[in-house]
């Protein structure tokens, strides 16, 4: 990748987008002007309306319905007209008149008036209220109103409140007459009190809304650039001009992608800011209620939000670009992206269903995981493991999407074709035979295996660790790797470095491996000081190892934990991935990248660093010797050493030195570390010299 070229493209695309008025209006105008404006206008209008309803007195009619006898009911059942409503009972009229902000009105047909909206409510009772009360009976009072009319609802509330006061007064009188206190008839006073802090209450509310809003904003930010930079460029006929320059497709995609990503982030942050300002301004209007809506996010939470926002914007931008690439013109691209947009908002809406939580499965589901994490973050402090899982998996999807975009870019039939539809084929016969996978394909293969591990592997291992591990290694890592490489017609022997190492190289490998197992054990001690593994996690792992040791014996354990990863993971990492990346990257960068990806593959924030370190050593071995076998041997040594330490099955003299509890406290003795370092160094010397011999032999 040529950074100067990428920068050139990025700068040009930004300039180009800046000069496009539509983009400016959509990206800056909408969030900063239109939408807070509308929001303010709508809420102001609502406030004014509410205020008006509050001030205007309710128009109420009081009527009395004659008491119905059972023969009246029968007559009505057979279709007789109901008896006409009479004038309101005088006692009731007096009560209603005393309710604040009500106004008594009279209508010939109050029901119709209520229906038409010229009347807000009707209060109905039987006749002779005062007499009935005097006899100690109960009188039914009905307030008829129209719930769809705010004015009518308001009248209903006013009337019910007013009549309740009357009821309480009457009750007090009756109790007094028989000499009872009002406490007597309410033996239990039931109260509820919300203990959630105002921050948490608002957080829960924001947590439901914010992710969707952000997603939409990120998407809107990416929408036009993604189309304009791909389909737009095709439509305007500048694509071929660009492709005729000595620029690699990778650089083109990178430059364009960065632009889309940048604009998407800008839109996301701009919207976030404008929303925050609008909301703050809004809250100032309800100063009396401010406490209920306290919005205060601790700075760490804001930082984590931002950290998660980055891969999310990355994912959305890459996906949109990949989709837009399939289109031949802007209109077609809009057709493709719009349903796709709904597709990404939908999972976010699912996540807002109350009760859905981040779990070992949901944390790997794209979009859903980010939404759920946001929801969590709004009410609770960040959980490192969850943030890690979400960022990692979103990152993986994002890289996959970017690879897809790059791949689409490389399909000449999509770039230059004027044909209708999508002329795309994956027939095996159309792949040119190659000696190593393309770098993009190697990365895609890695990501694919990682996804299998996310979804199937973790699940299987959580059910049964032992079987799960075997299936993961052979079925989810080795098999897909071999199948895919075969399908795209890669020469397996060359791509996987299947060649016999020289005796010297093998000796060097064993020395390096022998030294490394001690060094990495010491690194583990230091690592544990900086980032201690949670107690439960460590115990859980130990427990599973013990169960499986009992069930399968040490040999079985070695087979599953040492041999099968050594074979399967080496084929993927030091075979396919290394040979793919080596074509584009300088050797030391390839070692770094493969090592890091190897660390990431172990899906745990507590294991990344150490596995990545071992990954570096393994990658170096295979790169130097050119033989996968050296990687397999060293990988086996590292893993089996771990098993022997954990099961306390090391040979006699080593056992007391490497007891876990002792290591934990003091680390390895200095003389052992020094010997290990010497062993390691000696191994490097042996390996380098025999690799050099081999190279000179070949050059001769």
């Amino acid at each position: 990748m040529n950074l100067r070229t990428v920068k050139t493209i990025f700068a040009k695309e930004l300039l180009d987008m800046r000069r496009d008025k539509r983009t400016l209006v959509l990206m800056i105008g909408v969030p900063l002007v239109l939408y807070p404006g509308l929001f303010l206008f709508a809420s102001q209008a609502a406030i004014m309306q509410l205020d008006k309803i509050e001030r205007i007195p309710s128009r109420v009619a009081v009527v009395s319905a004659p008491a119905m006898t059972w023969s009246d009911w029968l007559a009505r059942f057979f279709g007789a007209e109901p008896k006409a409503l009479g004038a309101g009972d005088s006692a009731l009229v007096a009560w209603v008149a005393s309710v604040p902000k009500t106004e008594l009105v009279e209508f010939d047909d109050p029901e119709q008036a209520l229906d038409e909206g010229s009347l807000d409510a009707i209060v109905v009772s039987v006749e002779g209220v005062a007499a009935a009360l005097a006899e100690g009976r109960r009188v039914r009072v009905t307030v008829r109103y129209d719930q769809t009319e705010p004015k009518s609802t308001r009248a209903q509330k006013r009337l019910v409140n007013g009549l309740r006061k009357q009821r309480d007064g009457l009750l007090k009188k009756r109790l007094k007459a028989i000499d009872l206190s009002s406490d007597y008839i309410t033996p239990l006073a039931i109260e509820t009190k919300n203990v959630a802090s105002p921050t948490k209450t608002t957080g829960a509310l924001l947590g439901a809304v914010l992710p969707i809003l952000l997603l939409v904003m990120l998407g809107l930010g990416a929408f036009y650039p993604a189309i304009d930079l791909t389909a737009g460029e095709k439509e305007r006929g500048t694509f071929e001009t660009l492709l005729s320059t000595p620029t690699s497709k990778m650089d083109l995609v990178a430059g364009k992608f960065l632009t889309v990503f940048f604009l998407s982030m800008c839109a996301g942050l701009l919207n976030l800011m404008s929303m925050a300002l609008t909301v703050t301004f809004q809250l100032a209007q309800f100063s009396g209620h401010a406490l209920l809506f306290a919005v205060s996010l601790p700075p760490q939470t804001v930082f984590v939000l931002f950290v998660v926002l980055v891969p999310l914007a990355f994912l959305i931008s890459a996906l949109m670009m990949a989709v837009a690439m399939f289109a031949r013109n802007v209109k077609e691209a809009e057709y493709y992206i719009t349903p796709f947009f709904c597709l990404i908002v939908f999972p976010a809406m699912l996540a807002t269903i109350p009760g859905t939580k981040l779990s070992p499965v949901t944390q790997f589901v794209p979009i859903v995981n980010v939404t759920l994490l946001f929801k969590d973050l709004m009410t609770d402090p960040a959980n490192l493991e969850a943030v890690f899982a979400v960022v990692l998996s979103t990152g993986v999807y994002a890289v996959l999407a970017l690879l897809l975009a790059t791949w689409v870019f490389q399909r000449e039939e999509l770039i230059l074709s004027e044909e209708r539809g999508i002329p795309l084929t994956l027939r095996r016969s159309l792949f040119a035979p190659r000696t190593a996978p393309m770098p993009g394909m190697a990365l895609a293969l890695f990501a694919f295996c990682l996804l299998l591990l996310f979804y199937i592997g973790s699940f299987l291992q959580s059910k049964r660790l032992f079987t799960g591990l075997v299936v993961t290694e052979w079925g989810l890592i080795l098999l897909p790797t071999l199948l895919i490489l075969w399908y795209v017609r890669i020469d397996l022997v060359q791509a996987l470095n299947l060649k016999r190492p020289s005796l010297g190289e093998l000796a060097g490998t064993v020395l390096i491996g022998g030294g490394w197992v001690f060094l990495v054990a010491q690194a583990g001690v230091w690592h544990n000081k900086v980032l201690p593994m949670p107690e439960e996690l460590a115990q859980e792992m130990e427990r599973l190892i013990q169960i499986d040791q009992v069930a399968f014996g040490l040999a079985g354990l070695l087979l599953v934990v040492a041999i099968s990863p050594a074979v399967c993971e080496e084929v993927l990492f030091r075979g396919a991935l290394l040979s793919g990346l080596r074509q584009k990257l300088p050797p030391w960068v390839a070692v770094l990248v493969v090592g890091t990806l190897f660390g990431l593959f172990h899906l745990s924030v507590y294991r990344i660093f150490l596995t990545a370190l071992s990954g570096l050593v393994l990658t170096y071995l295979v790169l130097r010797s050119g033989s996968l076998l050296t990687g397999v041997v060293a990988h086996f040594m590292i893993n089996s050493f771990g098993v022997l330490v954990a099961t306390k099955s090391l040979p006699g003299p080593l056992l007391p030195l490497l007891d876990e509890d002792i290591i934990e406290k003091a680390g390895l003795p200095w003389w052992l570390l020094t010997s290990a370092l010497l062993l390691f160094a000696a191994g490097i010397v042996v390996l380098e010299s025999s690799a050099r011999t081999r190279r000179t032999a070949r050059n001769d």
Binding site: R4, T5, T8, I9, K12, L15, D16, R19, D20, R236, G237, T238, F239, E240, T241, L242, L243, S244, T245, P246, T247, S248, E412, E413, L416, E419, G421, P423, T425, L430
Partner: protein, 249 residues
């Protein structure tokens, strides 16, 4: 400078159908030479030129430009090519000067070199007054001049021009044709396609006639006239097409 051997391109259309757009084109173009490719629309001219310019990958066959194989190092090949076609338009929202700076940088030129070269070309093509206007505001003649400047910016030894005069008025066409002759005099290897026979007669040292993906004949104008017993390219072309079609029948 250009050496093509049995270049062949098969397109896979929908439903498993495949179209042989170019089959087995073998030819070469030297420095200071103009090769014209003649043929009706859809004959395969564009596909052939795109393969040389490494915009598409040949199904089989080899091609080298300035000694570099298009398979081995497509970026290296493109560095030595100036490519102009009806589909190589300019960015409307950028000015001519910005377009040239952008492409100069993509060709790996230093900014000073770009500025210097732009000034030279601006004088040569008389672009001074409109170079700082956005391309979308330029007339077609002005646009074409900026395009030519874009092609010549990195001073490539090979020029590939796909129907460069298609749809242009006479004056603009003349600008293009002058520029092709000028480049020939500066010892560039030029391959261009057209379906205007008169242009070919005027410019080309050698002519290749393409029909339905097949390079029917290739040679100097006089050789082709002699071969078909005609005295102009139009009749030559028709005679060759008839001969092939009869051969098919």
């Amino acid at each position: 400078m250009i050496r093509a051997e049995k270049l062949r391109k098969v397109f896979h259309a929908a439903r498993g159908k495949s179209v042989e757009a170019v089959y087995g084109a073998t030819f070469s173009v030297g420095a200071g030479e103009i090769l014209g490719l003649l043929g009706p629309n859809g004959a395969g001219k564009t596909t052939l030129l795109r393969m040389i310019a490494t915009l598409i990958v040949p199904t089989s066959g080899r091609c080298a430009v300035a000694g570099i194989d298009t398979d081995d190092d497509p970026n290296g090949v493109r560095r030595h090519i100036g490519f102009l076609s009806g589909n190589t338009k300019l960015y409307g929202r950028l000015t001519g000067a910005e377009v040239l700076r952008y492409f100069g940088r993509l060709y790996g030129m230093a900014d000073e070199a770009i500025a210097q070269r732009t000034a030279e070309l601006s004088d040569l093509l008389d672009m001074g007054e409109f170079l700082n206007q956005r391309c979308e505001t330029l007339s077609s003649g002005q646009t074409q001049k900026v395009s030519i400047a874009r092609v010549l910016l990195h001073d490539p030894p090979v020029l590939i021009l796909d129907e460069p005069t298609l749809g242009l008025d006479i004056l603009t066409s003349r600008t293009i044709l002058d520029f092709i002759l000028e480049a020939k005099n500066r010892n560039r290897a030029i391959i261009f396609s057209t379906h205007y026979m008169t242009e070919a007669e005027l410019l080309c040292d050698r002519v290749g006639l393409i029909h339905r993906g097949d390079l029917l004949a290739l040679g100097t104008k006089s050789a082709l006239y002699a071969q078909t017993g005609t005295d102009n390219l139009k009749d030559t072309f028709l005679a060759l097409v008839d001969r092939t079609d009869q051969g098919d029948g």
